[in-house]
């Protein structure tokens, strides 16, 4: 299993595990009212907004190390991750909106596990991208410190 494969797969694997855990251990229990959906939608949209902004931030970064990264195919890989994370956040919002449609007094049994899996997947991809962006900021910082001779 290559490193890149692991890097791509772990958020999805974590999401699947979360869904399974929900289905098996919590017997698909889920809050009865739909308030949780509103909270989820705001979380998803905040993630989406942050990710879209970080795309602009990363594209605007300028330092020798970032240039180096940009000259390799790793930068394309990063953009792929970012795009996937944005789509996942958007779909997560959509899935929560869809929750209002299927909500009658209570949620259907299948909704809870999928919601859990999706939430964990969204958070994991968000965490992954945030870490990459922060590391890139560190690269820029290292370059500027080196340029200042410190």
């Amino acid at each position: 299993m290559s490193e890149r494969f692991r890097e791509i797969v772990w958020p999805y694997a974590l999401g699947c595990i979360a869904g399974c855990v929900h289905a098996i251990w919590f017997l698909s229990s889920f809050p009865v009212d739909s308030e949780i959906l509103a909270a989820s939608i705001s979380m998803g949209s905040i993630f989406c907004g942050f990710l879209a902004t970080s795309k602009a931030v990363v594209l605007g970064m300028q330092s020798p190390r970032i240039e180096r990264l940009r000259s390799t195919r790793f930068f394309g890989l990063f953009l792929n991750y970012l795009e996937a994370a944005i789509w996942i956040s958007l779909l997560y919002c959509g899935f929560n909106l869809f929750g209002y449609l299927v909500h009658r007094e209570t949620f259907p049994a299948w909704y809870g596990p999928i919601w859990s899996g999706f939430t964990v997947l969204t958070m994991a991809t968000f965490l992954q991208i945030t870490r990459f962006v922060m590391q890139m900021v560190h690269l820029v910082d290292m370059d500027s410190r080196e340029a200042n001779g410190k």
Partner: protein, 289 residues
């Protein structure tokens, strides 16, 4: 005049001879191509002894030398606004084998510019064509010579450069960024040198260094700037101490020096340059493998 040996790599379907013939029918202005801040062009082309002989010129329009005399003050040339100085480079192409011999003019057109020019002027389709310098394999026999006295070893290393090859090795983005964190300054130069009297030498196993350098540098294109090791030179002396030589462990090109007498206008006559190329070609026939 320095002369280098190259191998032309071109698609079999690309008729270079017809292309050159067609280029020469164009008026001079149409043959100009802008490259590296100035114009260059194919100035002359002819066939001789089965070879194509071409003369390229690079126009130095911005700045140039002065007219100097031993017994009077230095003065400028009287040039019009659209005139400059021409740096000439003779080039030989063997259409049957695609081996090329090129004059090296430091201020003139270089081999990769020639390849670029010849394909860029062909507007019909994009062509994958370049000139690969022939590497002198005998440098490695020289390195293995017994009792060679090594005086200095010089290496330029680009540490931990991130590469597309890392991508091919399926590295993740996380480790790519980590690698970038570790890579420090652009280049590290390592010079190991024996100081003092001429008899002093380094106790260095040159063949092993050579092996190591070649393994690190890979067998990529010799002109590739993306290599981890950018220079690797060893200054050596014969066991009897008579002759010192700098061996380039990375890209030792097949090259030769031919003295040519300048003409009355202080230029190297085109015919003499062409015949020097043909002589060099015949001298290298055994290397053309």
């Amino acid at each position: 005049m320095r002369i280098d040996l190259f191998k032309l790599r071109r698609p079999a379907a690309f008729d270079l001879a017809a292309h050159v013939t067609q280029l020469m029918t164009l008026p001079v202005v149409k043959r100009n191509a802008f490259r590296a801040e100035t114009e260059m062009r194919l100035e002359h082309a002819e066939q001789r002894e089965g070879f194509w002989l071409m003369d390229f010129v690079r126009l130095r329009m911005k700045q140039g030398p002065a007219k100097a005399s031993l017994d009077s003050a230095v003065q400028g040339f009287d040039l019009d606004a659209n005139e400059g100085f021409g740096e000439e480079t003779a080039f030989l192409w063997d259409p049957t084998s695609d081996w090329c011999v090129s004059q090296y003019n430091h201020f003139g057109v270089r081999a990769n510019a020639i390849a670029e020019y010849l394909k860029a002027h062909h507007l019909m389709q994009s062509i994958d064509m370049d000139l690969l310098p022939k590497i002198d394999e005998t440098v490695h026999t020289k390195i293995r010579k017994k009792g060679l006295v090594v005086r200095q070893v010089q290496l330029s290393v680009a540490p931990m450069l991130l590469h597309d090859s890392d991508y091919d090795l399926k590295s993740g983005l996380g480790s790519a960024i980590k690698m970038l964190k570790k890579s420090g300054s652009d280049q590290i130069e390592i010079i190991v040198s024996a100081r003092g009297s001429k008899s002093k030498s380094l106790n260095i196993d040159l063949p092993r260094i050579d092996q190591w350098v070649r393994r690190l540098a890979g067998r990529g294109q010799p002109d590739d700037r993306e290599q981890a090791i950018t220079t690797a030179r060893a200054t050596t002396r014969d066991p009897d101490g008579a002759r010192s030589e700098v061996l380039d462990l990375l890209h030792h090109r097949v090259t030769t020096e031919t003295p040519i007498a300048p003409g009355l206008d202080k230029r190297l006559p085109r015919d003499d340059r062409f015949s020097a190329l043909i002589r060099a070609y015949h001298g290298w026939e055994s290397l053309m493998t």
